[in-house]
Amino acid sequence: MNESTLFLITFILYILAAFFYFIFLFAKREKSANTGFRIACLGLLVHTLALIWRTIESGHAPFTNMYESLSFLAWASILAYVIIEGKYKIRKAGPYFMLIVIGIMALASSPLMPKEATPLVPALQSYWLWLHVSVTLLGEAFFAVAFITSIMYIIADSREKKGIAKGSGLTSEKLDSISYRCVAVGFPLFTLGGLVFGMVWAYKAWGTYWSWDPKETWSLITWFVFALYLHTRIVMGWKGGRSAFINILGFLAALFTYFGVNYLLAGLHTYA
């Protein structure tokens, strides 16, 4: 038994959960959704063990290279999904969400991602690594849930407009409000982890709290997009389609901050 075995078991559990969720989606069997949810929770548990194992084995936080950080993102996403599902019953989002998580896990286990734990470069040896990365990724995980529910909103809305029967309780109106709630949790987390903790750490490690590094700039851009979402929604009363569209843009910006910047733009954040 080691970390990669636990990772593999997690991966299989997530695939299994997705499988049951899809049976629920196509065969409309409520029971399958429950099974899917339980398997996803079990996966989350095994995944937690895998992360703890990795931390003990490597002696540092489990998000210092792309493999680790993707694995942690998948973990945070499942956690966010389980919380939102537990609170608002969005099981119909389950199959799509599990697909995203499986995508992240597949990317993490691809041979392109170096998996061996390497010793930390001096700049990363700080407890701010824990605070900055974990809180930011958790915030982004909630954005991911909001992304799925926003897409589902657009689909549900167009169906309702065509007069096709409403789904099992998850109306477009409810999807719109759940998307907002995910942002309401994700936004403060992202602000705290990504921007505030990021600035504190940058000040301690690089001597300046802000240096317009592409990753910093892109996290500010992400923040602006969600600020736009909140203001158009709360102050100007935008709801529904336009709101969902901005939400999707926000998640894409977060995704670009996470991935795109590393591969397309050079900067100070060249660790992971």
């Binding site: 470069v121 949790v185 504190v200 736009l228 203001h231």
Partner: protein
């Protein structure tokens, strides 16, 4: 003036500015910033001049980007202030007189009749509401009792506090930009350097590099002492992530290197014809050393740590790491140059000597040393404390805005032919479902109570 204020208090302007700032910020991440003119010319050809003139090449410090941020700050300030007074009045000087029809036309409302007296119904309502942590204000007028029950009222100000935090952060950024500076210095062990614009000096006592078992760098540590009038004040070991702060200045471990301008070399001379002959010399750059053999003087003219021939076939160094140390020697005898050439520490057989006089001496570069220096970044940032204060305010505001939902219940108690009529309306800015649920519970429980 009024129209200016109206212009800046518009949320539409804020949204317009957010979009513009976002788009221009994106542009700045795709065009490399603060590079040389030559690099832009190579990259963008005929457009490079235009980009430089528009300051897109240093976008985040350009006058127009800073102006946008300034307009945005003004917009936030005026937007917040213009909405603050009515909100403040509503929160702290609320109207305590309600109209029946207003309450009944609210989205969340209820009315019940109880066979209570007005006083006891007031008691009952108060008890029910305060058990749910509502704070109650009472106003009795014209035989009617008006009750205003509220909780988590600070939640109303969440967005204002977020905006205040942002303004404090932007203010801090102005102070940082105007009064702050950053410079890097290289200090060798034992060296004392003055600190720019400060009344103290800095001494490097010790510098060391720690390695992981696999050979990669674990940490750089510089032991620094602050000297005031040549008296040591404090000593601290500075590492990456652990800077030293003193009198508003902060000192960071930022780089390291060797002082290859002043190396000390060890050179071994041997003879092809006489294997028993060997002579070792230690010399510094520019120094001339007399050999014991044959009245020959050796002088060291050049040293490079990482020898390379550049495209013009000149000697250069590829890096400051000692990957391929090389030295240029000359040999003199009786005032005449007899040989000269490069010798390489890693490739002793590669030595190229041009001899004017026949000699069978062979030279090898056996050792090379230079003082290691520590790269310390000195900075002073008078805005940084504003930034942290702003961050705290910002987070506090976000917590209030997203997790501290204000709720308000307005109640009129009226005597209706010996019975008490209770008319109520409820208002919650956010989390409406949860509030509706609470509101219904309150009235179910009031209906049941005797």
């Amino acid at each position: 003036m009024k129209s200016i204020i109206r212009f800046f208090s518009s949320v539409k302007l804020a949204i317009f500015l957010i979009i513009i700032i976002t788009l221009t910020s994106i542009l700045g991440t795709f065009i490399p910033q603060q590079r040389s003119v030559a690099e832009y010319a190579a990259r963008y050809d005929q457009y490079s001049n235009l980009l430089i003139r528009l300051e897109v090449t240093d976008l985040y410090h350009s006058w127009w980007y800073i102006s946008l941020l300034f307009l945005f700050s003004l917009n936030i300030l005026i937007c917040t202030l213009s909405r603050f007074t009515p909100k403040f009045r509503r929160a702290f000087r609320p109207k305590l007189e309600f109209e029946k029809k207003n309450l009944l036309s609210a989205k969340i409302n209820d009315r019940i009749k109880k066979s209570w007296s007005i006083d006891s119904s007031e008691e009952g309502v108060k008890k029910e509401l305060s058990s749910r942590h509502y704070r109650i204000k009472v106003n009795k007028k014209d035989g009617r009792t008006h009750l205003l029950a509220r909780k988590k009222i600070l939640g109303l100000f969440g967005s204002d506090i977020v905006h205040l935090g942002l303004l404090v952060i932007l203010l801090g950024a102005i102070f940082s930009g105007m009064g702050g500076f950053r410079t890097s210095i290289n200090i060798s062990e034992g060296q004392i350097v003055p600190v720019l614009n400060a009344d103290f000096k800095l001494q490097l006592d010790k510098f060391e590099t720690e390695y992981w078992p696999n050979g990669s760098v674990k940490d750089w540590k510089s032991t620094l002492t602050v000297l005031e009038n040549d008296n040591p004040i404090l000593t601290k070991t500075v590492e990456v992530n652990h800077p030293l702060s003193y009198k508003g200045f902060v000192f960071y471990q930022s780089s390291y290197g060797w002082d290859w301008e002043n190396p000390t070399l060890e050179i071994r001379a041997t003879k092809n014809t006489d294997p028993s002959f060997t002579e070792i010399m230690r010399l510094k750059l520019g120094e001339k050393v007399k050999m014991n053999e044959g009245n020959i003087e050796i002088s060291l003219l050049h040293f490079v740590p990482d020898f390379i021939l550049n495209e013009r076939n000149e000697v250069a160094t590829r890096s400051l790491e000692p990957n391929n140390p090389a030295a240029f020697l000359e040999g003199w005898q009786d005032g005449e140059k007899i040989f000269s050439g490069w010798i390489f520490a890693k490739y002793p057989d590669f030595a190229r000597m041009h001899s004017n006089v026949e000699t069978d001496l062979k030279f090898e570069l056996k050792g090379y040393e230079a003082a290691q220096y520590s790269g310390i970044q000195m900075s002073k940032d008078p805005g940084v404390n504003y930034i942290w204060a702003g961050c705290v305010i910002l987070m506090l505001g976000l917590c209030l805005a997203f997790f501290w939902f204000s709720r308000e219940i307005k109640i009129i108690l009226e005597d209706d032919q010996g019975k008490a009529e209770i008319i109520a309306s409820g208002l919650a800015a956010k989390s409406k479902e949860a509030f509706t649920f609470e509101f219904e519970n309150i009235f179910t429980s009031l209906r049941r109570s005797k």
